[in-house]
């Protein structure tokens, strides 16, 4: 039997956050993701759709909006807005309720690890798994466009992958807020689908409806649009891919006129805020320690 050491605090590094423990959870989440059929379903589906869109868009790739942001780029941005957000938000929302239901969360929290480390490890682990999925999807698109001698350059795909990953981290963080608030996987998944629908569809339609109903000034329209992380991603992606914000209508024109080159940074800033704020909220709820 181990000697009982009165200096246990030194042994375990006090009750502070230990990066070593976060790393253990990251490895566990990555191991699990590689064996999760939902993860593979989403990854294969995303890669197949990215490949299809690349092939469909290439014949018209001579129609380049500017600087390489052609139809392929636009199609991939739309795909990320739909599929990657759905994938990330549902993975984030399911992970903790599923562990709570199976009892594995109680098993882990019976070990010398804190809730903060479990939550951060889960977030980083899911982020790593999603980066791999995005790299696979955009990698397939890149290989196909290279083979077809199309206009989508490697740098476009790398920038798009980076921004898509940032959007997926937002969605994971939002998913974790759902996950720490729901005890059942079914309820968490339904809530995640609802939130995805609101972000992707109702956000757009709601803004359009508000404009028509209240004749919002264009600056408010831009603000309302860019506060939605999915729209912020679209703005940042178009700017990063050297496309024209005219595609966003009067709000895009206003944004370019008012903010100039900073508009892309605003989009990225909104995305970063949408990672930090929900993750902090999830941490506050999870740390408070609902009974297991």
């Amino acid at each position: 039997m181990s000697e009982v050491d009165t200096g246990v605090e030194e042994q375990v590094g006090g009750e502070g956050v230990e990066f070593r423990l976060i790393r253990v959870i990251v490895v566990k989440v990555l191991q699990e993701s590689l064996r999760d059929r939902w993860f593979w379903l989403y990854t294969i589906g995303f890669a197949a759709l990215a490949a299809s869109l690349t092939l469909v868009a290439i014949p018209d790739s001579s129609v380049v909006l500017s600087g390489g942001f052609g139809r392929t780029g636009a199609a991939l941005v739309a795909l990320v807005q739909l599929v990657v957000v759905l994938m990330a938000i549902s993975l984030g929302a399911r992970v903790l309720p599923s562990e709570r239901e199976s009892g594995s969360l109680a098993f882990v929290l019976s070990q010398p690890i804190g809730r903060t480390e479990v939550l951060l490890g889960t977030f980083v682990g899911l982020g790593g798994a999603l980066l791999a999925a995005l790299a696979a999807g955009f990698g397939v698109a890149g290989v196909l466009s290279t083979l077809r001698d199309a206009s989508v350059s490697a740098s476009v795909l790398i920038r798009l992958t980076g921004l898509s990953w940032l959007l997926s981290l937002c969605a994971v963080a939002i998913g974790l807020v759902i996950g720490v608030s729901q005890r059942k996987v079914g309820a968490a998944t339904s809530t995640a689908l609802f939130v995805w629908f609101v972000l992707v569809f109702l956000g757009d339609l709601g803004i359009m409806g508000s404009v028509l109903a209240s004749r919002l000034p264009v600056e408010s329209l831009f603000l309302a649009a860019v506060l939605n992380p999915v729209e912020a991603f679209r703005v940042a992606a178009i700017v990063a891919l050297d496309g024209s914000l005219d595609a966003l209508g009067p709000a895009g024109t206003y944004a370019v006129d008012t903010y100039g080159d900073r508009v892309g940074l605003i989009g990225v800033g909104v995305l970063v805020a949408w990672v930090v704020a929900p993750l902090t909220l999830a941490w506050l709820v999870f740390r408070r320690g609902a009974d297991l």
Binding site: V8, V12, Q31, S102, G103, I113, G114
Partner: protein
């Protein structure tokens, strides 16, 4: 040692624990005994910090509420509901726990061998039987050879052979200065494994004594189901009723309520009256 003072836990308006005080000395084995809902498992979950509670718990002087990680560092646990990561193998599950507990790598093959899972280390958890999962839980609890073991119904899902093996392993873990806190419904099992039993009812401690005295102190009774020779069931029933036993016939024999500590008295009366008892089973109330 473990010191629990005025432990209170409510689920909604229901008090699951209502002012529990327990003190366990170094090297002592203590059993928590009581009916379903008495609060045994909740005490374990409070010690591990899995639920919020009022009152104080100290493990080797460490406040479990203020320093839950440091407390859990001292505790190995076999929970009643075994929740693992189903897609991980036994070896991966042990590796995960070893890293969380900072146990030395050399312990891994030792504990796998100790619980007899060497042949199954590459199996995924979802492929394991209930008994193998229970052995895996024990292996995980022993990984860093902790000074405190919490065992919640550790034999509940085991067949007879696995139960005997588990009881032998738990017997070996007693002593050496290790604190062993064991929840069980089974008084016979507790009698083999613990020095003292804390009986709980409705979230309160109702008795504390050596396991051999608990049945008498709480007036516990058992039912004996008797199979008698030569169709003598009706006669056996009459004889036992005449001696003041609560007895009744069922389709296959005679049921008789006996004191948990004096089961053989009923058998003795029947033997003296020439009724041959072929077999009996004990059904504890």
């Amino acid at each position: 040692m473990i010191t629990i003072e005025n432990l209170v836990k409510h689920y909604g308006r229901t008090a699951v624990l209502d002012g529990v005080d327990i003190e366990i000395a170094d090297g002592e084995s203590v059993g928590l005994w009581g009916p379903n809902g008495a609060g045994k498992t909740t005490i374990m979950r409070c010690i591990l910090g899995l639920v919020r509670y009022e009152g104080s718990i100290r493990v080797h002087g460490i406040d479990a509420k203020r320093r839950p990680k440091a407390t859990r560092r001292l505790i190995g646990t076999v929970p009643q509901e075994l929740g693992f990561y189903d897609d991980l193998t036994i070896r991966e599950t042990l590796q995960l726990t070893r890293r969380l507990r900072r146990a030395p790598a050399e312990r891994l093959p030792l504990v796998i061998e100790q619980v007899g899972l060497e042949q199954h280390a590459a199996k995924r958890v979802r492929e394991l039987s209930g008994g193998m999962k229970q052995r895996l839980a024990l292996a995980l609890a022993l990984l860093d050879d902790p000074p405190v073991l919490l065992l919640d119904e550790p034999t509940s899902s085991l067949d007879l052979a696995s139960r005997e093996l588990m009881v032998r392993q738990l017997e070996d873990l007693r002593g050496e200065g290790r604190v062993l806190l064991l929840c069980s419904h089974n008084l016979e099992e507790l009698a083999m494994l613990v020095d003292r039993v804390v009986a709980l009812d409705n979230g309160r401690v109702v008795e504390e004594c050596p396991p051999s005295q608990l049945a008498d102190r709480l007036g516990l009774s058992s039912w004996l189901h008797l199979s008698v020779a030569g169709g003598d069931e009706a006669r056996a029933h009459e004889l036992l009723a005449a001696k003041g036993f609560n007895a009744r016939l069922n389709g296959h024999g005679v049921l008789v309520e006996v004191s948990a500590q004096r089961k053989a008295v009923a058998l003795g009366h029947l033997s003296e009256s020439g009724v041959e008892v072929l077999d009996f089973e004990v059904w504890r109330r």
